[in-house]
């Protein structure tokens, strides 16, 4: 609720008031020309207030600390790094005419995801697989992969594992800039971050969120061959759909991951399906 109040204070007065009126939720969605929407327990609720361009510009200015110029490289990648675990996704119209690629009025919607204040993953889940070995966490979008990694990596730095953990936090969602006993490459490009980690931080384990691009396969294989364990996450609703993603399949075929953790949902509760490499697919 505190995060909700904080975010509502950053929105234009009309939208802020609607947020406070709605109360606690998981996501606030601002779509240009659409009605302000809230997501709660997997359902979307619409407010009577319509989001106009001024509301959206006001929100972008507030979320970027009046600094679209500083945050533009991140906005182009589809997000705005923000504090306190609040995640802001951006959808924008492509603007190839412009040298810098994007202007604030090209932004068509914002998705503000509010963090859960308490720990979500039951501790016993982490005892059901060797958490310091390479693993791939998968779930549909918004399924809890980032939360899983966020709660896993601090454990690895402590007893009994006491590993040197390096978090390549390319979107600032895993650590919010502070990794405790882990080394954090904050808002660093993933390929560049893994390269830097291997070269200068001698990590036992590297944590990476949302892999799946063509370029990911190369540096992940390199890091694995260099002797680091990689715990990564990727979108995929099941083992079958995961194997349909060519780049992820390539990594799986190369034997990069020891364990696969599928996060699902049943009766409103999260489920964790843990599969060792030999039994996967």
């Amino acid at each position: 609720m505190d995060e909700l109040r904080y975010v509502s204070g950053l929105l234009s007065p009309a939208l802020g008031a609607e947020c406070v009126k709605f109360g606690s939720c998981e996501e606030i969605r601002l779509r240009k020309g659409g009605r302000l929407a809230f997501c709660k327990n997997g359902r979307q609720y619409y407010s009577a207030v319509t989001v106009n361009e001024e509301d959206l510009i006001h929100a972008v200015r507030a979320f970027t600390r009046n600094s679209f110029h500083t945050y533009m490289p991140y906005v182009k990648k589809g997000f705005i790094p923000f504090e306190g675990g609040i995640r802001i996704g951006v959808a924008a119209r492509g603007n190839p005419e412009k040298d810098d690629g994007l202007s604030v009025s090209d932004i068509t919607s914002l998705n503000v995801r509010l963090p859960k204040s308490e720990k979500v993953v039951p501790l016993e889940i982490f005892s059901r697989f060797p958490p310091d070995k390479s693993a791939l966490v998968y779930s549909p979008p918004g399924g809890g992969k980032t939360t899983f990694l966020r709660e896993l990596f601090p454990l690895l730095t402590e007893e009994p594992y006491e590993k040197k953990v390096c978090v390549v936090d390319s979107r600032g969602e895993l650590t919010y800039g502070q990794g405790g006993n882990a080394d954090v490459l904050f808002l660093e490009d993933k390929a560049e971050g893994v390269f830097k980690a291997i070269r200068s931080l001698s990590p036992d384990v590297i944590i990476l969120d949302e892999i799946g691009l063509d370029e990911d396969t190369k540096y992940i294989t390199d890091a694995k061959n260099a002797g680091a364990e990689l715990i990564c996450s990727s979108h995929g609703s099941s083992a079958g759909t995961l194997m349909k993603r060519a780049n992820v399949k390539r990594l799986i075929d190369q034997g990069v991951f020891e364990t696969f953790i599928g996060i699902g949902e049943q009766n409103g509760r999260r489920t964790y399906e843990i599969t060792p490499k030999r039994d996967f697919v």
């Binding site: 972008v60 200015r61 600390r65 679209f68 110029h69 500083t70 810098d100 202007s103 604030v104 009025s105």
Partner: protein
Amino acid sequence: MKIIGIVLLTVAPLIYGLRSAKTVRDEVRFFGCAAEFARHLQKCVEYENRDTNGIIDSFSCSDETFGKLLENLRNNGYYCEFPETIPISAEYKKALGEFFSMIGKVSRKELCDSARYYSDLFGSEYEKIKKAAPDKYKSRIVIGLAVGAMLAILFI
């Protein structure tokens, strides 16, 4: 009663003159700050790509009115309003409004170009009014004094 009336009539133009002279000083200080802020913003963005709120925090402003405007911009962004008390002409108020409305909305290059433009605009106005300020300042006090003295003579 008559004496009190004469004193009041004499002092009032003088006070008006002093207030009017203060406006001249405020205007100089305000333009100085506006030009300095635009220059500071341009440098911080061009060389370090720093965020605006950080730039505002690190900017020491000698003019209270301009300082309040920056605080308002920092906290309210798009809904930042200009109070009526700003000691500049409507033309420059409009220019300042345009400058502030660009902050936080445009690319690095556009912001630098715009900051450079407004730094020059406010800077040249600052130089102009700073040069004319001592005479203007003196003349407003002298006029206030003269009118006061004239009224005093008339009533005596």
